[in-house]
């Protein structure tokens, strides 16, 4: 009823519009805003489109509120308002005019929901507003928006923007955006030819698609020929790019495997303990990350939030390391030299740790957010590099180097090597072998915990997190050569890269199987793995 009244009101306003030309825009705008509050999504989308064409001063505010989910309809009178949460209630302002409209608890407001189509519309409309923003970053983003979603209707606006643009970086993008928009329709033959030239050096799949369509469908022979040769050039480059992309993917998968396996390279590789609870050490690290994140959310200002990972790394090391030391002292030290019992006991411990976490944190996944500096992607020579993967590659390298340095140069590292190479001789030299065993196991577990911090960024944090990595970890260590740190590094990287080069041809399932087969065959040939330890200490 009230909706009909509102519509009537709008009609009346429209009837009087010719009498009051100054308010004509406002009335049409108010009508479109009222049109957002309808049950049917297509009708709402129409209202959004109308708002976009009206170009009213408040269009941007209203559309942004709609996209952000702060646009409401007040239930009692269906007035469309923008709400800002203050305390328990929303303080409201009228969407059409911006006038304050009191406040209301959330129960009295119905959120006006945007669907995908509307969100796309809003993005396009707002994006074109941004072409004229004072901030060069905004203009670049707006130009990229047109470029990634080219449409003939953007031509005029991009041309206008080009008239006033002085920043070379923005100009270059705008020219490409213009070319893409012209190719999507509306350009003259010369313009389309020039556009093919401009876009010929692209590696973007979306623009390649555009050129491919031009090559197939363009009305003009010359344009089609130009597009065809541009397409061939793009495809030649893409062959190399694909290989580069696979290499990067492989390195990134390899560094995840490396992080998962490096702790095991110590506990299994160096100490010879078949540690089935290794995955749970990773899991503990991931849960430590979650706890640190929650503490940051609760006690520290939001702008420090991005640093929580930095704090989580040492915390995870300490937590997982302490559990590792406790495990070694209470169970594993009684089982040295009895691999079967060790296997069963650590398997039991892994189940206990999982269930302990499940009882205290719940069985469901815990949300660990990527900090802003670990989200998104960058473009490097036409390769899409996702930031979190790059950070993980660097992080894995740092962990390996730190560990190698520790084993090579620190006194503790010397003791560890001495004990694992010749226990009785080391004991005769006065090294407390029991303590060194505990600390070595703690070190391996602690590093697994640190891996958990990194894995929480790409995977889920759930009690069974470690289960997914245990087999892979053993595979890497055995393949690389038991007892060799560098073997583990090379093993992880080669498995990652082989997997990623196989995947496009064989699919993910078969790739995994093939890698397993390759390892089995390899172990037949070289039972001690890639980097076999030599010398009299090898039993």
């Amino acid at each position: 009823m009230s909706r009909i009244l509102a519509a009537l009101g709008v009609l009346v306003a429209l009837m009087f519009a010719p009498l009051a030309p100054a308010h004509a825009d406002d009335a049409a705008f108010a009508a479109a805003v009222a049109g957002l509050d309808q049950k049917s999504f297509p009708k709402r989308a129409e209202a959004v489109a109308t708002l976009g064409t009206l170009g009213h001063a408040r269009t941007e505010t209203v559309l942004r509120a709609l996209a952000d989910g702060t646009l409401f309809a007040r239930k009692e009178d269906r007035q469309v308002v923008i709400g800002r949460l203050s305390g328990d209630a929303y303080s409201l302002s009228d969407a059409a005019t911006g006038a304050p409209a009191g406040s209301a608890p959330s129960g009295e407001l119905a959120k006006i929901i945007a669907n995908n189509q509307m969100r796309g519309q809003i993005q396009d409309i707002l994006g074109r507003f941004l072409l004229f923003s004072t901030d060069a970053e905004d203009r670049i983003r707006a130009a990229d928006q047109v470029l990634s979603n080219p449409d003939a209707s953007a031509v005029a606006q991009v041309r206008n923007a080009l008239k006033t643009e002085n920043e070379p970086a923005v100009r270059q993008r705008l020219e490409r955006a213009l070319a893409a928009a012209l190719l999507s329709g509306g350009g003259t033959t010369e313009e389309r030819l020039a556009a093919v030239q401009t876009l010929g050096n692209t590696n973007e799949p979306a623009l390649r698609g555009l050129i491919q369509r031009t090559a197939a469908n363009d009305a003009d022979d010359a344009v089609r020929a130009a597009a065809t040769s541009a397409l061939a050039a793009i495809d030649r480059r893409l062959v190399f790019l694909d290989m580069g992309q696979n290499l990067v993917f492989g390195l990134s998968l390899g560094s995840v495997l490396l992080l998962a396996a490096i702790g095991l390279a110590i506990t299994f590789g160096v100490m010879g303990v078949i540690n089935m609870a290794h995955g749970e050490m990773i899991m503990l690290g991931a849960y430590t990350t979650f706890v640190v994140q929650q503490a940051f959310r609760a006690y520290l200002p939001p702008d420090l939030f991005g640093l929580y990972l930095v704090v989580a790394v040492p915390m995870a090391f300490v937590v997982a390391g302490a559990v590792g030391v406790a495990m070694e002292r209470s169970v594993i030290r009684f089982l040295y030299g009895r691999p079967l019992e060790t296997l069963l006991a650590t398997w039991g411990i892994s189940l206990m740790l999982q269930q302990a976490i499940r009882s205290s944190f719940g069985a469901t996944n815990r949300e660990v957010a990527n900090p802003a500096w670990m989200s998104g992607a960058m473009d490097f020579l036409g390769l899409t590099l996702t930031t979190n993967r790059i950070v993980i590659i660097i992080f894995a390298a740092a962990v390996v180097l730190a560990l190698a340095a520790f084993l090579r140069w620190s006194a503790m590292g010397l003791n560890m090597r001495a004990v694992t190479q010749n226990r009785s001789m080391a004991a005769a030299m006065g090294i407390p072998t029991g303590r060194v065993d505990a600390l070595t196991f703690g070190l391996g577990s602690g590093i697994a915990g640190v891996a958990g911090v990194a894995l929480s960024q790409v995977s889920n944090v759930s009690p069974s997190l470690g289960q997914g990595y245990i087999v892979d970890s053993f595979m890497v260590v055995v393949f690389g050569g038991v007892g060799s740190l560098w073997g583990t590094v090379v093993g992880a990287m080669s498995l990652g890269i082989v997997n990623k080069f196989l995947e496009p041809y064989s699919g993910a399932v078969l790739a995994k199987i093939l890698v397993l087969v390759i390892i089995i065959l390899f172990i037949q040939k070289r039972p001690r793995g890639l980097f076999a330890l030599r010398g009299r200490f090898v039993e």
């Binding site: 799949p205 469901t364 660990v368």
Partner: protein, 429 residues
């Protein structure tokens, strides 16, 4: 130390004996409901919630005076996400605990493992999860969605409302996604989609490295035709998948992903901001605005003592299934399996989305189909729904060999996969 351990073990054993010996004293005049959901292992993430939901509804029923004048007693067992153990635990529930009905299973493989046991011992199982269809057992009631109550309407929505022309069917490599994708592929081809416009991809359970696949999807989607991903990716693998999508800059308005296994519970473990606008198809969303749903959520929060706990589609399925069973028991006046089964057909129960679901003779129910978009708060906003309710179809019309099969457990059909009725009408009648 050793001594304390030993005495601790003795105490535990004593306590266990005490608990067992305490049972028969009041078990004689109770109605037993078996709950067969994994409380440990990989599926605990989803199934624990269902166990809690069952306990809540049983508790509620007991507060209202129970059933047939008796109290209802839940018997909870833990099959530990171990498929063969599901069969053993089901046998234990039926033979040892003598339960009157079972509610349980999540994965199709666990249901398939229980199937011979319930059929052999003539038990009753209520299965609450959306599944691939192609099955109708006399001893199982399927309260989750069949493919025609989830997958097909979702594809229709993408095709008609979003104008999708190119399709990526991505799934985890096991029976549910394989069968669903087989049905969908045939459906799309029947609708005139060229095979070149369909990309099918399978990944192992718990797949964590989605870089190659997401970049392939991006390439596939750049052919100038609107592209969508239909995802039957299971549970745990979803988080890294959505993270990779967000990181590679694929937004919902470029390439929407419609998922059949991602609900409120799964979203609770993800930072949902980059996912806003991706879709899911279910028969229930927690955000549904109905008085029944509001009351259910309120009870759930009170029962779990946690106002942040979410509700989801399989919980609603158990809600419908449990209420149907209660009504059927009341109508039959007994918990005898054969009598209850007979009373189940046509049983009507108000669902949580404002409609009334009915049990069909093929052991499936009628449900509305909803398409929702992920919101920043981890909830779904319904953007489309079917007019009225859709009846579950056990055998898909899009698999040639299933097309001719019919499931109907009422006379004269009385079978789960027949081409013609088992019984002919009596002569002269």
């Amino acid at each position: 130390m050793k001594k304390t351990l030993r005495s601790l073990a003795a105490a535990t054993a004593l306590a266990a004996v005490g608990a067992v010996s305490a049972l028969p004293a009041w078990a004689a005049d109770t109605i037993k409901v078996g709950i067969l959901h994994s409380l440990s292992g990989t599926m605990a993430i989803s199934e624990t919630t269902l166990k809690d939901a069952m306990l809540m509804m049983i508790d509620d029923l007991n507060k209202q005076g129970g059933l047939l004048g008796k109290q209802v007693e839940p018997v909870v067992v833990d099959p530990a996400s171990n498929w063969p153990l599901f069969a053993e635990k089901a046998r234990e529930l039926l033979e040892k605990d003598k339960v009157d009905v079972m509610f349980g299973c999540w994965t199709s493989v666990s249901r398939k493992s229980v199937l011979p046991v319930v059929e052999d011992l003539n038990g009753l199982l209520f299965y609450p999860v959306q599944y691939e269809g192609e099955e109708s057992s006399r001893n199982v009631f399927y309260t989750g969605a069949a493919p025609n109550q989830q997958a097909i309407p979702a594809v229709d929505y993408l095709m008609n409302d979003l104008g999708v022309k190119r399709w990526v069917l991505a799934g985890t490599d096991y029976v549910y996604p394989r069968t669903t994708n087989k049905i969908l592929e045939q459906y799309l081809i029947d609708k005139g989609v060229a095979p070149a416009d369909i990309m099918v991809n399978y990944t192992p359970f718990g797949h964590a490295d989605w870089q190659t696949i997401v970049s392939d999807v991006k390439k596939f989607g750049s052919a100038g035709k609107k592209t969508a991903v239909v995802s039957t990716i299971n549970g745990d693998a979803n988080v890294p998948f959505y993270k990779e999508l967000a990181n590679q800059g694929i937004k919902a308005n470029d390439i929407p992903v419609v998922a059949f296994s991602v609900g409120e519970e799964e979203l609770a473990g993800i930072d949902t901001k980059p996912l806003v606008g991706h879709l899911a198809a279910w028969n229930y969303f927690m955000s549904e605005d109905s008085p029944a749903n509001a009351a259910f959520i309120k009870k759930w929060h009170a029962f779990t003592k946690d106002t942040k706990r979410v509700t989801n589609d399989p919980m609603e399925a158990h809600f419908i299934g449990f209420n149907m069973w209660v009504q059927a028991v009341r109508q039959a006046g007994t918990t005898d399996v054969d009598a209850v089964r007979q009373a189940m057909y046509g049983q009507k129960v108000a669902n949580l989305t404002g409609g009334v679901s009915e049990m069909m003779p093929n052991h499936h129910i009628t449900k509305p189909v909803l398409i929702g978009e992920i919101q920043p708060d981890g909830q779904f906003a319904t953007v489309w729904q079917t007019e009225g309710l859709v009846a579950g179809d056990a055998w898909s019309d899009f698999i040639p060999e299933s097309k001719k099969l019919n499931a109907d457990w009422t006379y004269p059909w009385v079978c789960g996969n027949c081409e013609k009725p088992k019984f002919a009408p009596l002569a002269g009648m």
